[in-house]
Symmetry: C2
Subunit: 367 residues, 2 copies
DNA sequence: AACAAATATGGAAACGTTTCCATCGGGAGG
DNA sequence: CCTCCCGATGGAAACGTTTCCATATTTGTT
């Protein structure tokens, strides 16, 4: 790349000192009309633009904010990130984005790098807010930051869905539809406090509703075809009539796998998802799910960080109860009296394929 | 935020000059064992980290790459961006992300800011590659960059889908299934050269296949319910038996609207999408579409930029024909001989609701 | 023991800004 | 005509690095 012009070059061409150039171009301080004109002409001729690097060094501010999320392949994060980004550009900030792919190593590495880059603030979704090395680092440096989608640790603000309560609402929905035996399908269970809180909230409310404790099916790869997992899971738990998937994509995957296994959704098996992605309402059956507002959370978290930077009043985080709503859908149907009475619903078709049980399945993980 | 320690502080605490600190901490140049130890201890005690700003100023390199895309709400861009981002972090670069929301103003503004921030390279999807102010600016500065999803202008490399050929493949698919009268549904038609190229490729091949020129329905808001638009469109073009939607979300939206209008997909109306997003294969009917590999494009474009920076050999862009493939799906069905013969298929149900024609509809836009 | 060679260390310049301060010139008021 | 003041301008320091070069110290060789 051609060497860019510096303020010194402009001063030379305009026949003045750098101080004058700075004053003219920034409209700070006085300058005579002819001088002003000469400087402007020189800057124009040289295609001059201030170097933010030089500025940053002198002002010890970078007008840059770091953002760390697990993955923007998940539209929930993508929407939130885009919302925050819009808030940032509006305020004259740029956003450095890093995706961790749910890896704690990538997380701490990203935080370190962003700190070295001297970001003015940070927005992040960590794997485990209670125990995040990166988060500790940020706190120690007293860097303005906000959490996103993590449950807020004591004294911290976080823009997040109340996973616990939302999962409880799912349990209620199952209960209202007479389901008693349910399962919970989790992705990244170990590396995500979100998934864990959803499971806890769900299990707790199941108990309170007199349902049996949910069976846990944990998978760790998105791309994997769930069919084998689902088959084994239902074989081990033939009494299940409903499954709560920890996100909408998983819910779709289950529905597809069920279809392959000739299990009808929702007649034989009800499915509820989490997140409320757009397509959920476009397909047949529509997906029962927890609707969330990722964009709202993203913009809110972004504004929170900005307010910490400029000392203005931070926006109010929404009431916990307003961070989600249960959205009914065709994938959750009432259990008929008959199938409920005998306890064992005909949810499992004749098993004609010898699906191998895979090692990745874990069930009844108590904790 | 607490004032961070500088190399000078470390030198002071370790009782040595800054040059020594730099040498020790960067493992460049010699240092005695005790000196090394003292410096390390001092750095540790002060929580010292080099400031990238200072480094950037002195090396005139920022290890930062700018990325400009229309929106990461679209998973195609999200996947590509994430792929590129992964490539960048692997090479020790960070990514500054800006979403333009398909606005040319936002585009040029983003480019300007990124240039001021002295990014080492740039990755971008512009609205119109033939006529982009931002792109010109980048070229003038000879900044290493690659296009993504734009058709490459002469002499430029771009990692993109061959929209023209892909759309032609859709026309072929319709033809093979005996469709003659089709429509094209576009979003952001004016601000996206991609949509335009798809329309051109589709229309051209329709002609070659002896089909009638496709009717154009242009909408400009994603969130809007398409039902009214679709109703009016089919009323004006009752002969249509298939619609090519310029992306998968639009395709889903059409299918939903069709359902509301009691039009059965694919019996009464076939739908083909574009992009090949994951959920397309999970739902019923599955979506016939053009499958693309955004992640591959994103990583490729990322590597291209890196290669331009370090002067290494750039990766080969895929052959145009390999940038997409037609994916069959349940939303596209053969036209029965009977419905084909009379030309006018019973694609339109009794119109019982007085849908208002909205102003946003434009049809038969030639060019 | 003396000297050459190699190793260890620090000072200072340079990178591109902003901003404080000093200087210079000129117009107004005495 | 002299002073005073104000507007215009430039020099220089500071921000945090790296790196060149010079100097100081150690090691090794006769």
């Amino acid at each position: 790349m051609r060497q860019a012009a510096t303020i010194k070059d402009v001063g030379q061409r305009a026949g003045c000192g750098v101080a004058t150039v700075s004053r003219v171009l920034n409209n700070t301080g006085p300058a005579s009309a002819k001088m002003r004109e000469r400087v402007l002409a020189a800057a124009d001729a040289l295609d001059f633009q201030f170097s933010e690097v030089g500025r940053s060094l002198q002002s010890s501010t970078t007008r840059t904010i770091g953002c760390v999320v697990p993955s923007i392949e998940n539209p929930v994060y993508a929407d939130a990130v885009q919302g925050a980004q819009a808030v940032f550009v509006n305020a004259g900030y740029q956003m450095l984005l890093t995706c961790t792919n749910y890896s704690a190593d990538a997380e701490i590495h990203a935080v370190r790098t962003l700190i070295a880059k001297q970001v003015d603030g940070m927005l992040l979704t960590v794997g485990d807010a209670q125990n995040s090395e990166g988060l500790n680092l940020i706190r120690r440096r007293q860097l303005p930051h906000s959490l996103l989608f993590n449950a807020a640790p004591a004294g911290q603000t976080s823009w997040s869905v109340d996973d616990h309560a939302a999962a409880a609402a799912v349990a209620d929905a199952f209960a209202k539809n007479n389901h008693v035996h349910t399962g919970f399908l989790a992705l990244n269970f170990l590396s995500s406090d979100r998934a864990r809180r959803r499971f806890e909230g769900f299990a707790e409310r199941c108990m309170q509703n007199g349902m049996t404790p949910p069976a846990l099916l944990e998978v760790d790869d998105d791309g994997l075809d769930l069919t084998a997992h689902l088959h084994g899971f239902l074989e081990d738990h033939p009494e299940l009539t409903g499954i709560f998937a920890s996100n909408d994509f998983l819910a779709f995957a289950v529905i597809r796998s069920a279809r392959k296994l000739s299990i009808d959704v929702p007649r034989d098996l009800s499915i509820v998802g989490f997140d409320g992605i757009k397509v959920g309402q476009m397909v047949e059956p529509s997906l029962a799910t927890i609707a969330t507002t990722p964009r709202v959370l993203g913009t809110g978290a972004g504004k929170t960080v900005l307010s910490m930077i400029d000392g203005s009043a931070p926006p109010n985080v929404p009431q916990k109860e307003q961070t989600f709503s249960f959205r009914a859908g065709g994938s959750l149907a009432p259990l008929t009296a008959e199938s409920k009475d005998d306890g064992k619903v005909a949810a499992f078709p004749p098993s004609n394929d010898q699906t191998r049980k895979t090692a990745k399945i874990q069930q009844e993980r108590s904790k």
